[in-house]
Every structure is written in structure tokens, then in C-alpha cells.
Amino acid sequence: MVLNATEERQSETAPTRPAGERSSRLRRRRPGRTAGRYVLVWVLTLLFVFPFLAMLSTAFKLPADIFSAPPSLWPKEWTLANFAAVFEEIPFWQYLWNTIVIAALSVLGMLIASPLVAYSLSKIGWRGQRPLLVIVMATMMLPPQVTMIPLFLMWNGLEATNTIIPLVAPAFFGTPFLIFMLRQFLMSVPNELLQAARIDGASEFRIYWSIVLPQARPALITAVIFQFVWAWTDFLNPLIYLNDSSKYTLAIGLYSFFGEHNVEWGPLMAASVLFTIPALALFVVFQRYFVGGISAGALK
């Protein structure tokens, strides 16, 4: 079972037996066909990447250039003035810090709670396992709007609005999607190890902590990344709960930037670039886990 996970990861990077491809007999390819393939892939990729190019190019343009019709990707003159304006007008570092704090705490909460619940759903044979699994999946389908108002009132009553508590606390009770993903992964951890430890008299928690968790490292890393990105990019909750602009996250910081009579597109795009960079960096470093995680987690 553990072997399977490795195998799966391998199969992503080096398709030895790529399914969905023509059989080996027809592997002799004409060069036109190969070029055609590249074109298809490039067009597809370009469609998704182009908006970023537009964002970058606008960030470096002078105002007059930004409002030139027809638009062009290459700035007539490169300028850093837009970036300077961003730092002048919004407390970027403050927002960045706020966002990091919230994301880190969310991740901490998730790490504490989600694996525990996933363990209960996979490695403990008990009567409630099935029903609980159904409940976890059902909560994934609940529209946030249903709970939004009562939750707001609850936090209001607890005097926790305008703090990060409403944003961070739920993670400490488990995130349904990640619970589900971790559970799927744990199902593939061989039970023999656990049985042996149980016979030896180890407590269930010890088994969880010392045997199962280490095995789940790849899935945990993926879960961490997912939780981090969700907390990082969350828009609705900071919108509702954070009132002081000093507490804003990056998501809301940009939103406020847009107000006013005039939208300054240059600085707005520059701010967008700055707000994207951290997520981008994270992604570049942990790309394998992102992609591996979604594939593994969503294939029931």
C-alpha cells in the first residue's frame, strides 16, 4: 500500500505506461504531429497565463500608456512608480503580516484537528465511522451563506468581531475537505503495523502519533499547503469580520484600494502583482504536493 503511493507519484512525473495514448505500434511520429502537439499545449497554457502577463505589463506602465487604445503588452517606458504608489497608499507589509499570521494559525489548527478526525474515520473500526463520514461529506456541501449570519451574531456576542478569532478558530475543529482527503490517504496505510503495536499494548494515541502520522507525511504536507492557500486567499470572512483597516489581510487590502472616484489601474495592478508573489513562490516550491494532492484527494 505504501508502495502504491510512491508508484503513483512516480507515474506523474515519468509516464512509463501513459494511458490514454496511442499504442506503441504507432509511436513513429511525423515531425508535424509533434509540433502540432506543442502548439496545442502552448495555446492552452497561454490562455491561462495571459492575464498574468497583462497584469505585469500594466504594473510597469506609465499612466498615459495604460490608457492607450489599442492596448499593448510591452510598456513604451518602464516605470516603478506604480509600485512606489502601492507602498505609499496601503500598508503592504502590515497586510502581509496579518495574512501570514492568519494563515499560519489556520494551518496549526488544521494540523492539530484534521488528522485526528481522519484517523477516527479510517483506522478505528467503530460503529459511527460510516455515519460520521457521511456527515463530514455533507458539511462540505453546506453553503456558507446559511451559517454566515448566525455565526456573525455569535462572534459579535462574544465580542470577537474585528479580531482574527472568527477567521482562525474553525480550523481548530477540522476542515471537512482535508479531513476527507487525509482519510482517503490513511486508508492506504497498512493495518499490520497498527495491529502489531496494538498487540504490544500501545495506546491508540501513541499509535496515531508515532506510527501513522509519520507515514502520512506527504498527505499532511499537501493538507498544510491547501489550508494555507485557502486561508491566504479567503475573501468573504475577512470582509465580514475585519473592520479596522490595520487588521486587513491582503485580500481585503486590495479591495479597499479599489474604492474612491478614481481607480488607479497602474498601482492597482502593481498591488496585484505584489499580492500574487507570495502565493506564487509557495507554489513553485511545493508544486509537486499541490498537484499530487488534488489528484490523490479527489479520486474517490
Binding site: L108, E159, T161, I211, N243, G259, N262
Partner: protein, 428 residues
């Protein structure tokens, strides 16, 4: 081995994150527990950019002028956040601003602190304010806000374009309609290249026109929504006849969507795409800054009949104190300062808004602003009207906005559109 190392790593990570958590809670949790020194109050305002800078200067002057109170200004342009902040017992500001027509709605819900007692203590003379600016400040006899700046509407026109077309600045609605016809230019395919009357804000334009035709939006008592008042419908009919039906709603819509951004260098009035426009006094300060070469003038909004001369719509920017503020007395002191002669002059000059005090309306400080007197005088007119500030106002203006949009797009006739708003208002 791996499991031990992993355990140590997770443990270290947990420690690191926990300390971050503790630090975060520490930083966000405590905010200046009562120390000896000036009382800190927070002034959260909707303004931003240049206007915010001007406001910060006034705040700095206040802080320098006395030692008991320190005002911290925060730019927070989101009105929804204002509301959510005032809904809990630990609100995030002690004094804030909004538009006059929100006062009634908020006061009726107990959101705003009544100011009458504080005004007495701070010796604020209510008689010093221009009567037109006070319409929206009271609810059920109590004062809940003070006007810090006032806005009126007038008809602005591009002198060059009018001269070219041989048109005189209009003084009656018929003249205006004729001028619009002469000043709207279409090309061979029927697409509009220049429009006689621009439309920066449909809601403002239509409500102002309603008043200009002698209509009323809140009934004679100012407490009932009356969108379907026949004079209102007449005003909208005039607009559709002159523009929407004459040139085609879709053509107008195409034209509008291609226009540059309001108040920027590409603003359609500044660039000659709009020959005339009904707009507010802030333009007088913006145009010299952004479009100094524009040759422009201002006249009163044309009247349908002589008793409606000088008709205009007045709106106010107000200061209020939320009921959940813990420093109401200090906030009131600052409020009184802000409506003092010099701070109000400083502030309104910088923002290009009208002062709300009668004595300042003829102050020479405003002489340097071109054409400002046209808007200043509008405030004195007996036909200066404002939308009521009632509990239904928020929903009402949204519904009106939707209906006006339908009229401009030619989707509904003015009569039907206004009737639908009336129906909605009844069921509210």
C-alpha cells in the same frame, strides 16, 4: 529515525507556530489600555487619496491645538464595515462620516448617538448652518449628525462646444432640450460621437431632474416614498423623449461604455465627449487640476417654471458618533472643532466641497475657485431640496437606481419603472 525526526520537526513547528500565535494575539489583542495621557479616539472616514490627506491635516491641527484628546484618523472607504463595526460592543471607531440620507435609517435603529446634549455643552450654534444642509440631520426631533460639507448640483457646459454649435447656455427646459439636440453629434452609422447631456450618475441626474420639474421623491411630509409622483414621471419622460428615444437607448449605451474614467484626464466632459453635464461643486476644484485647458462655464439648472428657479439637489457629508463609542464626549469635542469656521474652511477648500455654514458661503477664501459661486448660491435657493433621510432610504435608493437604469436602457417606460418602485416600497 524518520518517525522521531518527524516528531521533532512537528514539535518544533508546533512551538514556532504557537509562539507566532501568542505574539499575534498579543499584538492584536491589547490596544492602549488606559494609560495616562491624551484620550485616544478613532476617526474612521470614507474618504481616501487626496481627500484623506487633507483631512489628516485638519486632524493634525486639532491634535496640536490641545492636549486632552488625540484623534487617530483611519481611511476606511467601506460603508458595510461601518455598519458591522457599529453592531458590536467593541466597535472600531468613535466618530465617522457618511451621507446625510443614511441618518434617518441608522438613527431609527439606535445606531447613532443623539447629539443635542453634546451640542449644548460644546456650544455649537445650529442656527449658523444653512437651513438646506440641516434637512437630513434630524430624526424624530433629535439631532444625530452634523453636516461637515454640502454638495449641490448645477449645469456645467463646454464653452467651446456651445460656441461652435451656436448655442446659448439654456435657461428653460425647452431650451435645454433644444441645446441637447444641437449638441449631440452622430456619425454616418448613427453611432453617437458627442452627447449633449452627459450622465455621470443616473441616480443623481434623475432625482435632480425630478426636483427641477417640481416633483418630490419623499412626499409632501418627507416621510413617504413617492417615486410615481406625476412630476417625477414628467421629468423622466422629458429625458427619454430628448435622448433615449431620440437617439436609441442602445446607441447611448454603446457611447457611454466607451467613455473614459470619471474625473480623470479622460473624463468625457473634460475631453469634449459631453457638451453639458449636471454635476457637483467638486468639479470646480478638479478641473483646474486635471484639465486646466478646458473652457467651461456653469449656469443654474433650467427651470420648468419661474417658481422653480434655482432648483437643485442638496446632499450632505455628515459626521456622526456611533452609539457604541466609549468616548462620546471626546468625540463630540472633536466634532465641534470640525464644524468650526477655520477647520471647515480648510477642509472644504481642499476637497472642493461647499461649507455648510451660512457665514462661510460668502467667504472670500472660495473666490479663487473658478465658478464656485454658482454652486454656493444654489445652496441659498428656496428650491434646494434633498432626499429624505428615513428608515426606508437605503432600500429606496437601490430600487430607484435599478428603475432608473431600466429607463436609460429603454427597458421600461418612466411610468412603469416608477410604479414598480412604488409597489416595492409599499411591500417593504
Amino acid at each position: 529515525m524518520e518517525s522521531r525526526m518527524f516528531r521533532r520537526r512537528t514539535a518544533l513547528r508546533a512551538v514556532a507556530l504557537t509562539s507566532v500565535a501568542v505574539a499575534a494575539v498579543a499584538l492584536t489583542g491589547c490596544s492602549g489600555a488606559g494609560d495616562s495621557g491624551p484620550t485616544k479616539i478613532t476617526f474612521s472616514y470614507l474618504w481616501g487619496g487626496e481627500e484623506a490627506k487633507a483631512l489628516e491635516k485638519v486632524i493634525a491641527d486639532f491634535n496640536a491645538s490641545q492636549k486632552e484628546i488625540k484623534v487617530v484618523g483611519v481611511s476606511s472607504p467601506d460603508m458595510q464595515k461601518q455598519l458591522t463595526s457599529m453592531s458590536s460592543s467593541n466597535g472600531s471607531f468613535d466618530i465617522s462620516d457618511n451621507f446625510g440620507n443614511a441618518v434617518g435609517s441608522w438613527a431609527s435603529k439606535g445606531i447613532l448617538a443623539p447629539l443635542d446634549d453634546y451640542l449644548k455643552t460644546e456650544k455649537v450654534d445650529m442656527g449658523a448652518f444653512a437651513p438646506a444642509s440641516l434637512d437630513q440631520m434630524k430624526y424624530e426631533g433629535k439631532t444625530y449628525a452634523l453636516p461637515i460639507a454640502v454638495h449641490t448640483q448645477q449645469l456645467m457646459y463646454n464653452k467651446d462646444l456651445l460656441d461652435k454649435a451656436g448655442v446659448q447656455p439654456p435657461t428653460t427646459m425647452d431650451e435645454l432640450a433644444a441645446a441637447i439636440k444641437k449638441l449631440t453629434v452622430t456619425d454616418a452609422s448613427g453611432a453617437i460621437t458627442q452627447i449633449g447631456l452627459g450622465n455621470p450618475s443616473t441616480s443623481t441626474l434623475f432625482t435632480t431632474l425630478g426636483y427641477a420639474f417640481g416633483g418630490t421623491w419623499d412626499g409632501k411630509d418627507g416621510k413617504t416614498p413617492t417615486p410615481a409622483d406625476p412630476k417625477n414621471v414628467e421629468a423622466l419622460d422629458w429625458y427619454t423623449k430628448t435622448l433615449t428615444d431620440a437617439y436609441g437607448a442602445d446607441k447611448i449605451s454603446s457611447f457611454t461604455s466607451g467613455l473614459g474614467q470619471y474625473m480623470s484626464a479622460q473624463d468625457p466632459f473634460y475631453t469634449g465627449k459631453e457638451a453639458m453635464v449636471i454635476d457637483g461643486e467638486w468639479q470646480a476644484v478638479n478641473i483646474p487640476k486635471v484639465a486646466p485647458n478646458l473652457n467651461w462655464g456653469v449656469v443654474d439648472i433650467p427651470a420648468v417654471s419661474s417658481d422653480l428657479a434655482g432648483s437643485t439637489q442638496v446632499s450632505t457629508s455628515t459626521l456622526f458618533i456611533p452609539n457604541n463609542s466609549k468616548h462620546k464626549a471626546e468625540a463630540a469635542k472633536f466634532l465641534a472643532y470640525m464644524v468650526g469656521d477655520k477647520p471647515m474652511t480648510d477642509f472644504t477648500l481642499a476637497l472642493g466641497n461647499l461649507p455648510s455654514k451660512t457665514s462661510l458661503l460668502s467667504d472670500s477664501a472660495y473666490d479663487a475657485i473658478p465658478h464656485f459661486d454658482a454652486w454656493l448660491n444654489a445652496l441659498k435657493s428656496p428650491n434646494a431640496k434633498s432626499l429624505s433621510s428615513q428608515p426606508y432610504s437605503a432600500q429606496y435608493s437601490t430600487d430607484l437606481g435599478t428603475a432608473f437604469d431600466d429607463v436609460v436602457r429603454g427597458v421600461a417606460t418612466p411610468e412603469k419603472a416608477m410604479q414598480s418602485v412604488a409597489d416595492k416600497a409599499k411591500s417593504c
